[in-house]
Symmetry: C2
């Protein structure tokens, strides 16, 4: 730790200059085979590892990307993360994962990484970008930190976005319910002020209106994407004078909470009320009844997002990927 071995030690042992050691490590083919061998020997003998701080300082980059997640415990994000990681590690980049806990202050703190040399670019899964950064981007459209929003788009399309078309996917979901003969369909939405929430509400409304149903068949309950809010919604629904035929939930966690609470209270799913989720997390499959939901190609989304960011950074030979493959699909199981 303290008596760390530096490049100087290696160069002394190998009998070459530090420059040569550095070159051997980064560009082995520019040095003589003999030199290379001497250096590698010295490296192994000493157990030398390059000091990242010194490297970053000199190279003026962190070789790391930042990923902001609103809630790391939400299983929805983990597969996206794994896709990101996969691509990033291929490009020799470290992935810094930060849990913003949906807290603006924390988010702002982390985005500072983009300016203090901790990260070269950021992937935003949290649908929020601090004003200060938005302004920075506005002020210097040519030369601002590389940022890509993932899954949740940002309000103003100020940075590239990778994700499915939520409005369209939701329409598909609601159309499925309509096709099953349901008419009075409640939508359990996400928290206010969230893009996913509003997109999915839009999709819901579109589908309802398109099917010629009048407004009285539309009904919204606001949740917050948590299991608990799904459970809470059950109370609201049971208390309704006219109960809905079906509930379309803005994510799976709420759907699972809802089903659990409904069944506990003696309401059968799907017979009394059909329930649909969104995301297709792993526990959707093990729900009883198994959850009908919208599947997102999460791993692929993560990979695409990372590639887009790397393309922006000019790292590796990544090009802006073709995102046309990011299609959501409906997975019909038994809950609706």
């Amino acid at each position: 730790m303290n008596n760390r071995v530096t490049i100087i030690d290696v160069s002394n042992i190998a009998g070459v200059s530090t420059a040569t050691v550095s070159r051997t490590l980064h560009n082995p083919n520019v040095v003589t085979a003999k030199t290379r061998k001497a250096v590698m020997n010295a490296v192994h003998q000493t157990g030398y590892t390059q000091n990242t701080a010194a490297q970053n300082l000199r190279q003026q980059r962190a070789n790391a990307i930042l990923v902001l997640v609103p809630d790391i415990s939400n299983t929805f994000f983990s597969e996206i993360l794994s896709g990101i990681e996969h691509v990033a590690s291929q490009a020799n980049l470290t992935t810094l994962i930060a849990d913003t806990l949906n807290d603006a202050h924390r988010t702002e703190n982390f985005t500072r990484y983009l300016f203090n040399g901790r990260a070269d670019g950021a992937l935003l899964l949290n649908g929020y970008l601090p004003d200060s950064i938005v302004e920075t981007i506005r002020n210097s459209p040519q030369n601002h930190p590389a940022i890509v929003s993932v899954s949740e788009a940002l309000d103003d399309q100020i940075v590239p976005h990778i994700g499915i078309d939520n409005i369209q996917a939701t329409q598909m979901a609601v159309e499925h319910l309509l096709a099953k003969g349901h008419r009075f369909i409640t939508h359990l939405s996400g928290p206010a002020g969230n893009i996913l929430t509003s997109d999915r509400i839009k999709g819901y409304r579109n589908a309802m209106v398109a099917s010629g149903l009048n407004d009285s068949d539309q009904h919204l309950i606001q949740g917050d994407f948590s299991i608990a809010s799904g459970e809470a919604a059950a109370n609201d629904i049971i208390a309704m004078e006219r109960r809905p035929d079906a509930v379309f939930c803005s994510n799976d966690a709420m759907a699972i909470g809802l089903i659990s609470a409904l069944v506990n209270r003696g309401v059968a799913v799907p017979n009394d009320i059909a329930v649909m989720g969104f995301d297709d997390i792993e526990f959707a499959r093990t729900c009883i009844p198994p959850l009908t939901t919208i599947h997102q190609p999460r791993r692929r989304i993560g990979e695409m997002a990372a590639k887009t960011l790397l393309a922006q950074l000019g790292i590796g030979d990544f090009e802006m990927p073709d995102t046309s493959s990011l299609q959501a699909t409906l997975v019909e199981r038994d809950s609706a």
Copy 2:
């Protein structure tokens, strides 16, 4: 990005030396109020942020800790992570979360962070430490990187460990099943070579033996902590000539998978077979029937672990915390 503002710019504008700027930022009370004001003005005016790489290089530490997680998508870990993060951020440390995917090679790669200046210490949630590091620790017991193992202890008690007593907690679980009158109890274990797996098998055996049951009432199925392995176990169980009265699963994910598959095949839980899990993840509650399980104080475990690490690092005024509060508790719901 390229035209970054440095401490020199700030010092020029404020009309002081860089030393004074640095002091103002780190030790505001050693400079005059007047100077402080001038510096802070310059900082705000320029939007200066300290360069982490330069800082780390100079200070010879990363101000970051590494957390190795075997599988970030496992919800069990997320609350631990949140506890860690909570403590670390109070000490102004960045938490680097790394998903090892249970891959030794990846793990080894990440542990390198301890030597290349990216991290000052590590929290291991993966129950595995590369041989190279074990050796380093053995060779210099006084002066080795700070490491704490969390949840899963390491084979040899080479580093401090924070977590519950798995053997005892498992005994408690199995005793619960026995008290309910179950005799033939199957244990769905974790993957081989994992400490959690072996500890829980031990606890299971202890309880079975202590209750005076003979060996024929013991039965093991090996899983791997995944939902899928729980589902697979259902087949094994249904195929058994003499079906168990109860199944104790080594974690909740497997229990949920098992229940789902069992119910699908017409086996009632808990009436035909009782099922218990371990961990008390959030979805345990929404399982149908709600899952009886062992609750771990995960957030507290994370906090304790972080404090222990910080104490080792001598950061902040943390002392080795008293870990006596880390008790697992049984949560009785309906599945057993």
